[in-house]
Symmetry: C3
Subunit: 340 residues, 3 copies
């Protein structure tokens, strides 16, 4: 790809360099060569720029490097440009429609003629598979499950009865959509009486779900993952939760039941959300934190239980010296109160 073509594909400006220059790949700073373009998106790696052998580099607004011997594509946001460059260099493969002869498809299921159904896929009664959808090997759709146009389900994914996956979704390997919610009533004899989980999971369009993630069906009504939400690996979404549009949920986070995660909320890794809560739009909960209270829109919170992130940073700094603080308090008490 010519530098000028790449600039167009990534919505960047050629600040320096020959527009006709050939670029073959987008590569990290340490490994890039003269026909590669690299990128600086994380300031932590600034020191690598002086030694890179890359022929070109994406830089964000305002980033200055002390070199003029490599081509520079200037971006509004270097991370977006990097994503667009990788997409230009790694176009989605064409889907070749086919149904592998080992696939087991119920005669009442409706599979689009241009879908790709790989080996050992099992599609239950009444299930629906949309146009250009890909079901990789060993995917299982239970009765009346639906997968929208252009979605990809990787090997080992199960979509349980009546659950819906929207269009252009990606679900990675071995994830479970629609397992029973964890609902029991405790009897007077302290046994657990199973509450039937008769609801569904609805995953809207443009959602990506990582590997080995479990999303439970509701007892009544729907568990909903709204348009554009992104969910990482090993995440637990409890029954009747709503994850709203463009929310981002990082690995190993868990939501108990009936919580609402607002639009564009970011839950970092290993976060825990108790049941029946509302996390407001644009809130951020930092890694390893947990909340059992509602979270106001736009707030960043941390800790177990979580509170304002700046206060938490102050508390964690003092916590490191808590043993010393206790000792100093004792000393002061002895002085003032004359105790022991």
């Amino acid at each position: 790809m010519k530098l000028a073509e790449l600039a167009e594909a990534t919505a960047t400006q050629i600040e320096c360099g020959d527009p006709e220059m050939e670029i073959h790949a987008c590569v990290g700073l340490e490994d890039a060569g003269p026909s590669d373009i690299s990128f600086l998106t994380n300031p932590k790696y600034t020191s690598l720029v002086s030694a890179t052998k890359a022929g070109a580099i994406f830089l964000g607004k305002g980033t200055v490097i002390g070199r003029d011997d490599l081509a520079i594509l200037r971006a509004e946001d270097a991370h977006v440009a990097y994503a667009l460059a990788l997409r230009a260099f790694n176009p989605e493969p064409e889907i070749e429609p086919f149904v592998h002869p080992t696939a087991v498809i119920d005669p009442t299921a409706k599979v689009a003629g241009d879908a790709a159904i790989f080996a050992n896929v099992v599609i239950g009664p009444g299930a629906v598979v949309g146009s250009r959808a890909r079901l990789m090997p060993n995917v299982v759709l239970y009765a009346n499950a639906a997968v929208g146009d252009g979605s990809v389900l990787h090997s080992g994914v199960s979509v349980r009865e009546d659950c819906e996956i929207g269009r252009n979704c990606i679900i990675h390997n071995n994830s479970t959509i629609g397992s029973d919610g964890f609902g029991y009533a405790r009897t007077p004899g302290k046994k657990w009486l199973k509450v039937p989980q008769a609801g569904r999971v609805v995953v809207e369009d443009d959602v990506e779900i990582g590997a080995n993630t479990a999303i439970d069906r509701a007892s009544i009504g729907d568990t909903r993952i709204a348009r554009g939400a992104k969910i990482d690996n090993l995440v637990q979404i409890g029954h009747s939760c709503t994850v709203d549009e463009d929310a981002l949920i990082c690995a190993q986070t868990g939501l108990a039941g009936s919580s609402d995660i607002g639009k564009r909320v970011i839950l970092a890794g290993q976060v825990g959300i108790a049941g029946h809560l509302k996390v407001g739009d644009d809130a951020v909960i930092t890694a390893k934190s947990a909340t059992s209270h509602d979270v106001e829109p736009g707030k960043t919170i941390s800790g177990i239980p979580a509170f304002d992130n700046r206060e938490w940073l102050r508390s964690t700094a003092a916590y490191r010296k808590l043993g010393e603080i206790a000792a100093r308090l004792r000393k002061l008490e002895r002085k003032v109160l004359g105790e022991e």
Copy 2:
């Protein structure tokens, strides 16, 4: 179903309303209509009662609502009544015994004639499948694994060699029963020498296990999940653990090896239990907590490491102001000690 029939099925009393009234479904307060029954089990939702269009409602002992224009079924425990109502409205489907032609069953395995074996199931040598058991697509039983009468294994579940699943169990999708425990001896050269995991997992009757959960086999002897225990999604049970009767283990909790979880213990979400511990009967460990010490029967503990829940609540309240506490202590020291 008539109101009177529903009252009988749920062990509730008609406090108000026509016994002949027809009820079609059990629905949440916000979505219920005149021919639905709703429920109030969580006081958080009391405010929704005034606006509900439900024709009837389950209420627990002592719950008062300011309305008399809808039928009331009075329950000892509204949550139990709700569970029983959902069970009445969603009866278990009849199992149609069959063996799908793509299932691969070793000739030495014993599969009950009235079991349901779905597509691509693989049953190894010497394995046993009980009466009315259901193995959904892609379930794998290794050699000599056993599944008891009436149990359901959902797609993607693997039961490893020699492990036993009891009667009337439910195991959700992509869970692993009997993977090797994580056991190594460290050699003088600081390599990890694998300790063979020659034991088993035994799951007793009436156990439910969520999706994407992993239960490790013992090195020697058994890992045991006792009758009536309920285990959620993405839970880790290490080798040689015992989870005793009617224990409840919520999502993403992890047990290291050789710990005993007592009867009716509740481990909330994302809890961690170190190895070789005893958690006493009826103890509760709250969400995101971890213990590396034994827990007394009946105690509720919290924190990392966990201690008495009430003390912990007091500590967490003070923690939010720990930065300020440190500053105040410094001020006092200056005053008293005249330091810096």
Copy 3:
């Protein structure tokens, strides 16, 4: 096996007992009988030694028991001896090479003639399976995936396109190797733009990976699990991470992207490692801890965020009384400052 043979197999010395004595199994202290050997590796169980009916016991250097009526095999390290004994009593089964007729193998794949390919395995175009490798039922190798000699992939494991598994590895059930990293650029309109994950996962020789674990492919370059590393169940390894030789990562630990875990590092259960960090060789991070900073080689750290383990122990002790500390400080303030 004769006691003398067992001593040789486990590199131990017969300190007491008849070399010709027959030992049939290695069993726990409570369950062992006169023809079994038992072991004492955890001092917690010392009290069980007086009552054991075992005919022989492995003891580590310096361990004294008040009994001379059972044979003693004295080991440099009792845990290593125990591992070697179990290996002697549970030899690896011979592999019988075969390809099950239901396996679906692309004609361009290369499968060694002495590999064992179980039912419903799917091997994609260009994939390679080494000598004496075992692919258990329902394993899926995507295009150009490679599995080295002697490795075992358990049922439900997926190895995604272009990823490599080395020699003599074990991967337990339902784990995912090579799912897309969780990489998005945020557009000015606050949508998530997927960053293609065009790299690979490379797993070197002698690695063991637990059940239901997810290891993400890199966006560019490789995610690498180096020789001898051991990874437990339900672990998340983010894109572009390196786990170096002989590292040990316990269950439910998560690494965000681009972090380097040094040689022989131990990450205990449920640990979290933020992105772009370096954890130095031989460092230890204790259970339930998290770090967002680099960790020096050899350090043991704890807490969220984690700091020196000894300091942390002191802080946790004071934390239990933090409510009381705050009250005592208030009292002192009143006395000294005359405030309220």
